[in-house]
Structures are given as structure tokens and as C-alpha cells.
């Protein structure tokens, strides 16, 4: 039903494991459908060197997380923070109804929150 790449990421999610000693960890839940995700990010010199997620949800939310995390490898914290809703939709690559956009955005939302918390901790302006 969904395109191949969605099903592939859903069935074989990349980076789908918790990290041992993440620099930052953050959980988000979409109460309207019960999807949940925990993102672990390890950061050295503002560059993301390891990431992992665990969670439960529909194919869209889990595939979106997997795709985002694949792209995030070795991106800088600031580059990730510039990712927009449109970037995420483009990555997902299939049209989503309003209800499903929330599913598609869950991972990006969680990652951004984690990184803002990280930056606040670093004492930087955010």
C-alpha cells in the first residue's frame, strides 16, 4: 500500500536501538494515536556521531524516524535544527492526510526538542 521505501524502512528500521551513553535522550508521544518514540543522540563537537531510537507506532511514524536518522548521521546539530516540516515530508515522499502528518513529524519533533535541550545545556542562545 505504501511505497516500497516506506515499507522497507518500517520493516527494517535503521538505528532502531537505544544508545548506551547518549549525550541527550528525549521521549515524545502523540496522544491522539498513542505513537511514542525515544531518541538517543550522542554528540561530539556539535556533530552527531551516534543516534538511536526506540518506539512504537504506525508505519509512517516509524519509517519517518528511520529515514530521518539515516540522514542525520554525521550532520551538525545546527543543520539538523534547520530541517523543516517540508524537508521531512519530502523525505517521506508520499502524500499524507492531516491526521498522518502528525505521525510523520513525531521523530523530527522529538529530535529537535532533544537538540534544543542540548543547546540550552551548553549555555548557547537558542
Amino acid at each position: 500500500m505504501y511505497k516500497e521505501h516506506i515499507m522497507d524502512h518500517y520493516k527494517h528500521p535503521r538505528n532502531n536501538a537505544a544508545l548506551k551513553n547518549p549525550t541527550i535522550s528525549h521521549s515524545e508521544k502523540n496522544p491522539s494515536c498513542g505513537d511514542s518514540i525515544t531518541v538517543d543522540i550522542s554528540i561530539t563537537d556539535n556533530v552527531i556521531d551516534a543516534i538511536g531510537f526506540t518506539g512504537e507506532g504506525c508505519a509512517i511514524s516509524m519509517a519517518a524516524a528511520s529515514m530521518l536518522f539515516e540522514d542525520m548521521q554525521s550532520m551538525s546539530v545546527d543543520d539538523v535544527l534547520t530541517l523543516t516540516r517540508e524537508d521531512m515530508l519530502e523525505m517521506i515522499g508520499i502524500p499524507l492526510t492531516t491526521m498522518r502528518v502528525k505521525c510523520g513529524m513525531l521523530a523530527l519533533h522529538a529530535v529537535k526538542k532533544a537538540l534544543y535541550t542540548y543547546k540550552a545545556r551548553q549555555g548557547e542562545d537558542v
Partner: protein, 383 residues
């Protein structure tokens, strides 16, 4: 039947618990009224306003008869939700009160009474379920006997399809001099209702094949006369001076402003439609039983007890959202999510479920179609 519902030619509609499709005769009744008899009610001296008032009050009488009430006890609201808010605001709830609801309850009942209890500092009790996911009547009796000022509960769960014995609950509540408030949003569409022993009962027009924007609230007259107004404005006043205002008696006190006039006429036609098709409610049950049997055979996990009316909710190894989207591609409409019962889904430990619900227009073919699509879905996801 299906010729009354042209929309069903292209859509397999299995989401009647969310809202029912309307028969042509409801649109026609609203159309004719709007073109020939429409005016504001209870105001005009002119003949057209008298006609409109007659139609509006006629709808009140039909609504009363539909649930075994009287017109003096019927308040038109916007919806079940508004009715529950009205009751949660106007029933006396104090620091000493004990307010009871259940895990089965829809947010529209659960939240207004939870919030009223929080505001007043009252005790808020949520009745649990048995292992099978049925309302635990033994616990219910125990909790009510500890004291009960208000029991607010659904008569028919919009998730498990369980019918609650509100007559029995009413007896226990009345022994404690409490009030029983019944959410009839689903019950009104699937069961013959008799509110003789119920203090308050609410349902929505759009779930009984009528329009949105109108709901019916029955409040037993001795209770109604003790309630203060909920909203202020035109229609509900007796006399207004600069210093103060007095209010009308009876249902009018709770109908501030211009009411949903055309919707009342549509609702009246919808209730007649349901009353004329009581025999099909038996068929609805057979359809749900048939559907449940097929679901069990494909290893779906069914929520709640086996005896069901109106709907069946379940989980499959595929996430509920993905199931609903797959079915949508086949032009089949079902609901996926928590169906406005988060506390219930939390208690069951599931994030979301799929719900198939039926109306008077559904057929065995509709069930066969959804079951075939569900099988294809499980296969496509290869789980």
C-alpha cells in the same frame, strides 16, 4: 434501504458510531421546512413564526416520545458533549460530593465530570472493568454504596459495544439519594430507550441519522426544577431589569439564544426513521456478531466482552492507523485511534485500536468486504 443513502453507492461506511449517514428523507424534511416554514421561534407574532414554533415544539414532543420522556423534560442542546457540560456545571457538586464515572466513558462524559470534581475538590471515582473488559458490576455496587452524588455513565460503550444495565445502577444510586446521568449517544441509535428511572439522559442528533448541531437532553422534572441556568441570553429569561433578571421555568431556562431550528426538524424526521426501522436493530447485532466471529478467526484481539451492540473494536499485528489507511484505499471507512477513550486504552495497555461500527443501512456484504480487505492488509504488511 440503501436508496435512502446515495453516499453508500461508492463507500463502504463502517463508522456509524462516529456519525451516522443521513437518509434522503432527513434532507428533504429540512429542505421543505427551510423553504416554506422557516422563521425564528417563540418570538414572532406573524403566522410564519407560529408555524416554525409548532414544528420546533413538535420535534421536542417526538424526541420526548423516542426515549419515554415528556416535552417538559426535554432540553435541546448542541450535542451530547454540551449536555454533559451543562449537567457537570449545574448539578450540585461540592467538596463533600462523590462523583463516579467509569473507564468505559467517552471523554465527553469523563472530562466534564472529572473537571467539575477537580474544581469543587470532590472525590472522583472511576469504575474499573473485569478481566474480560466488561464493566465490573460488583465493584460498581460497592463503590456506589460508599456514597454517590452523581454517577455519570454510558449506556452503550462506543468501543467495546457493551450494553450497561443502567436500570440496575439507577436503583443503587437512588438508594444513596444520588443522581444518575446517562450518556445515550450510542444507545439511542441501537436500543429502545426508556428514561423512566433515569435522572438525566443525553444523545446527539448526528448519531441517530439526524443533523449535527443538535442534541437532546432529558432531565427528570423534579431534578430540572432545581438546576440553575447554565448560559444566559435571550429566550431563557422571564423579566430583565437593570438591576437583575428572572428566568423561565422548565427546559426554556436552559435554551439561551436562538436554538437549532432547522436541525430540530431534521432530527424529528431522523427519529421517525429510526422508530420505523426498529426491526433492523436486531440485524445490526447479527452483523456485529458475524463480524466478530470472522475477526476472531483471523486472530484479531477483540476488546471487551463477547456480547456487543453496534460496534466491535480490535487490534491486529498491523498498527490501527495503517489498517485504516489500507481500508481507505479500498473505499472502506473505519475508525482507528482511541475513540475518545484514552483512560480505557491506557487500562487495556494498547495505544490504539480499529473499530468497525454498523448502522441500519449496513449489510453482510459490507462485513465480507471489510474482512477480505483486512486479510489483504495483514498480508501486505507481511506480519
Amino acid at each position: 434501504m440503501k436508496e435512502q443513502f446515495p453516499i453508500l453507492e461508492t463507500l463502504t461506511y463502517l463508522d456509524t458510531a462516529a456519525t451516522a449517514q443521513k437518509p434522503l428523507r432527513v434532507f428533504e424534511a429540512e429542505h421543505t421546512f427551510g423553504l416554506t416554514r422557516y422563521a425564528n421561534v417563540h418570538r414572532g407574532i406573524y403566522a410564519q413564526s407560529v408555524l416554525a414554533t409548532e414544528a420546533f415544539e413538535g420535534a421536542r414532543a417526538v424526541a420526548a416520545k423516542f426515549i419515554g420522556s415528556t416535552p417538559q423534560e426535554i432540553v435541546f442542546t448542541k450535542s451530547t458533549t454540551e449536555a454533559m457540560n451543562l449537567l457537570a456545571h449545574t448539578l450540585p457538586i461540592t467538596k463533600k460530593s462523590r462523583i463516579i464515572t467509569s473507564l468505559l466513558d467517552h471523554h465527553s462524559t469523563f472530562v466534564p465530570f472529572q473537571q467539575a470534581a477537580l474544581h469543587a475538590g470532590a472525590e472522583f471515582v472511576v469504575l474499573p472493568l473485569t478481566k474480560e473488559g466488561a464493566l465490573d458490576m460488583r465493584q460498581a455496587k460497592k463503590e456506589i454504596e460508599k456514597g454517590c452524588d452523581v454517577l455519570a455513565i454510558t449506556q452503550l460503550s462506543n468501543v467495546t459495544g457493551e450494553v450497561i444495565d443502567v436500570e440496575q445502577l439507577a436503583k443503587w444510586v437512588h438508594k444513596q439519594n444520588g443522581r444518575i446521568v446517562v450518556d445515550g449517544a450510542q444507545a439511542a441509535a441501537h436500543l429502545a430507550i426508556d428514561v423512566s428511572h433515569i435522572d438525566a439522559f443525553a444523545f446527539s442528533g448526528h448519531k441517530v441519522y439526524g443533523p449535527t448541531g443538535i442534541g437532546v437532553l432529558h432531565v427528570q422534572k423534579d431534578v430540572l426544577s432545581t438546576l440553575s441556568p447554565y448560559q444566559f441570553g435571550g429566550e431563557m429569561i422571564d423579566a430583565v431589569t437593570i438591576e437583575n433578571t428572572t428566568f423561565r421555568e422548565g427546559p426554556a431556562r436552559f435554551e439561551a439564544g436562538t436554538p437549532p431550528i432547522t436541525q430540530a426538524v431534521g432530527l424529528m424526521e431522523a427519529l421517525r426513521f429510526v422508530a420505523e426501522h426498529r426491526d433492523l436493530q436486531e440485524k445490526e447485532r447479527d452483523l456485529i456478531a458475524y463480524c466478530q466471529e470472522k475477526l476472531v478467526r483471523m486472530n484479531a484481539t477483540i476488546i471487551g466482552p463477547e456480547e456487543k451492540v453496534g460496534c466491535v473494536s480490535f487490534t491486529l499485528p498491523v498498527h490501527a492507523h495503517d489498517v485504516a489507511e489500507f481500508l481507505d484505499k479500498e473505499h472502506i471507512a473505519v475508525r482507528a485511534g482511541h475513540h475518545c477513550t484514552q483512560p480505557l486504552h491506557d487500562a487495556l495497555g494498547i495505544p490504539a485500536s480499529v473499530r468497525i461500527s454498523v448502522g441500519l443501512y449496513n449489510t453482510k456484504e459490507d462485513i465480507d468486504r471489510v474482512i477480505a480487505a483486512l486479510k489483504a492488509c495483514v498480508e501486505a504488511f507481511d506480519v
